[in-house]
Amino acid sequence: MDNIRNFCIIAHIDHGKSTLADRILELTGVLHTTTNAQVLDSMDLERERGITIKAKSVRMPYKSKDGQDYILDLIDTPGHADFNYEVSRSLKACEGAVLLVDASQGVEAQTIANAYLAVDAGLEIIPVINKIDLPNAMIDECRQQLEDTLGLPGKQALLVSAKDGTGVPELLEAIVTLVPPPKGRVDEPLQCLIFDSFYDVYRGVIPHVRVFQGSLRHGDRIMIKSTSEVYEVDEVGYFTPKLTPCEVLSAGEVGYVGATIKNVGAIHVGDTLISPEHPETPEIPGFRRSQPMVFCGIYPINTNDYGRLTAALEKFQLNDSSIVYEKESSAALGHGYRLGFMGMLHMEITMERLKREYGQELVATMPSVVYKVFTTVGEDLYIDNPSRFPDPTRIDHIEEPLIRLRVIVPNEFVGPIMELSDSKRAKLVAMEHPDRRRALLTYEFPLAEMITGYYDKLKSVSRGYASMDYDFLGYRGGDFVKVDILVKENQVDALSFISVRDSAMPRARVLIHRLRKLIPRHLFEIPLQAAIGSKVIAREDIAPLRKDVLAKCYGGDITRKRKLLEKQAEGKKKMKMVGSVEVPQEAFLLLLKMEE
């Protein structure tokens, strides 16, 4: 066990984490030089977006300079703030972290956030400056930033070019020397953390585990601490990155367990596996299970697909346990689910993955944060769906979630960023300068403003130079109202939204105006209204359709005309009925894009 090193690489997006992982795999002989780069990013979506979503691990043999044999286990981590949850559980399986900084970019917002997480997890941090081959590499500035913003020994930072391999052998030596070996005894009862899992059609749920004490082998009985369910192990092994069976997984090792767990809901990431003979073995503590912060409803386009959606979500959660969902039904959209996400990117990626991996066509409603509603009778309710807000007369006051937002941006964009943030009700709490040319702005920021397109705007006003990261801060009171949307006197629950009172009217006007363009004209007039309680704050009317008639059926070509009518009827089947009004599916996506 003294020769095992479990480590991860943490970095801001695009700072070269996956490329470095490839070089390490090549150098240890696990991977032969390949044209299809970035082995750990196996999901298509990850490669397309250039970000790593799912944590995975790879075991590598390594012979150090002093001739000793080591086992290195690299645990991959996602880089974006939304995936902190996955980062934190991956960190839990390691003893050390390589903190990677792009020499041409310097310390960015996610560098800071990830470094804090690693410090909190008690990991040994090895600072590394990457991309030193670039002509605009600023090695000295990076060293200084590591010292100033993170308190790390910047002077000792290793210099690497993951692209051409420079410095990577030295990095492997440093991992062996600096990262402590895992602790924990093989002769103690089993204690094992599930830090990830996936579903195999033939073998059921396959948990990814880190053994903290004891050992696991074929034929062992294991118990899930939280549920006391017992299974028999039919295979143990590790990742190379393919699944490679082995005799035993002992304390300190990372690998997988096959135990024919067919029920997708039986295993949760973060659970502890113990031996049924020693049910008193404690859980592995300190595993941070963060709460989802953004919610939206998803509905199958075709109501008959509800069963398929249910099955897809069950499997999906196994792969991404940070997703929470529960049944929801909407008068406008039928039966669906309300999903909770770590953030907007998480939501977007989840929707994409659901569509791709499970072939589901979905309608998503506008995202909402979780409001804390205090009622006049003294309840405090967490409400993640505007349509479930209590009647205004029952509400004493409302609080909204706040985040601590860190933005790093070149000095020349500080003005526009401040202006943008002010318009989003942000409160600047600190402004620092990690180096001469950049500022680090720290804000108290309403999460609700974040989910309505702040990130995209941040990128555009800073011409792509700004980086940001955030963590949850707490709740703060404010003057909020629920705005309902009425289509011909019928309330459309899926379009209700919560707003600060002052901006309710302008938002409602934009929404109503767009809705008017989306809903086709009908034979009758359709008033579109936005209302707070019974008070209408915006209204537009869709004038009745006066002409919808087939002109001449010339020369007796009846078939073509009949087909035209049939095609129209087909199109109408895709509409959702709100009272007597046919509303196209796109209308429900409207608020998502509203602030753009």
């Binding site: 109501t303 008068a331 406008a332 959209l333 039928g334 034979l523 004038a543 359709l545 006066r546 002409k547 919808d548 008639v549 087939l550 002109a551 001449k552 059926c553 010339y554 020369g555 007796g556 070509d557 009846i558 078939t559 009949r562 009518l565 049939e566 129209q568 009827a569 087909e570 109408k572 089947k573 509409m575 959702k576 009925m577 007597s580 046919e582």
Partner: protein
Amino acid sequence: MRGLYIHIPFCVRKCSYCDFYSLPGRQDRIKPYVSAVITEARAYAGLSFHTLYLGGGTPSLLGAEQLKNLIGGLRETFDLGGLVEATVEVNPESATPGFLDAAMDAGINRVSLGVQSLSDCELESVGRVHTAARAIDAMTLSRNLGFTSLSADLIIGLPGQTWNTLSAALETLVRLGINHLSVYCLALEEGTPLAQRPLGNLPSDDTQAELFELARAFLIGQGFIHYEISNFARKDHECLHNLNYWRGGEYLGLGPAAASHLQGRRSRNRPTLDAYVENPTGQVEYVETLGGEEKAAEEAMLRLRLLVEGIDPGVLSGRFSPATIETLVSRLDDMVMRGMLEFDNSRYVLPASRILTSNEIFREVLGTGTCGVPGGRHCEV
């Protein structure tokens, strides 16, 4: 009742809104084309017809001689002894005394003039070849030559059109003695030059609807009957050939792009002149034989276009078995309950208020209403 339609796919110039099959500048092919039509006709030799309709394109481009050859050939091939109506579409610029004389001699008894508008600006804006004055001359000439059944086409929604120009046209046409008028709303058909480059001063759909309502009121005031969605006629001057279409009757269409309905089977020829002249009998590109219920629904949809005649349940049950029309009739009854149809004088008819918004009603009659369920009720979620 059986109709014979001959498509004449030649034009001097293509109008910018037109998506019918017709070719400008191919008049050199008229002679072989007429022979080809006769050849196609021979495949149906011996059939009898009660109406004949020469449509286009521009049938008046045939000229006197080819018109004579065409109708002569048809008379040799078919039994036209019972012909009660024979229409030729005439464009003002080719309405020569020679052609109209020849038409009269050949037994044509109805002239349908492609007037479209009596404003030179409007005519020019969509690429019509003729002027308003030429159209008026053609009308006068036809009447003076002894044609007693005179029809004109008008388009609603031409660029720059207002009630001023439209009402002036209507008054002139009525004064000139027409007894039939087809009024079509301009539609931007996919692929036409007008749809690709719509003119800025095109009246909106709402304006079209307004103009149509005004025109309808004017014509009814003048004693015309609004007998079909797009057609007005003085009593006993309805177009029998077209009535036969709406009544689900049989017809044979000859020529490229022509459609036929014989023995319950609908078919259509390929729209290619050259291939047709080469092989006139091998051009069928589409055939459809609907099942009983669909067929009845289709006929009901067509008959509802006849605003006065509508659907007589007695006539329907004479043409289809009771089992075939059972769901259709209950659907129609249901639509009466919901105000989408009226039951008047023991006939189902389209309410006057729904003439211009009849597509929804037709969709339901076809049984392809919002949910595709018989009865076509909306699906509430």
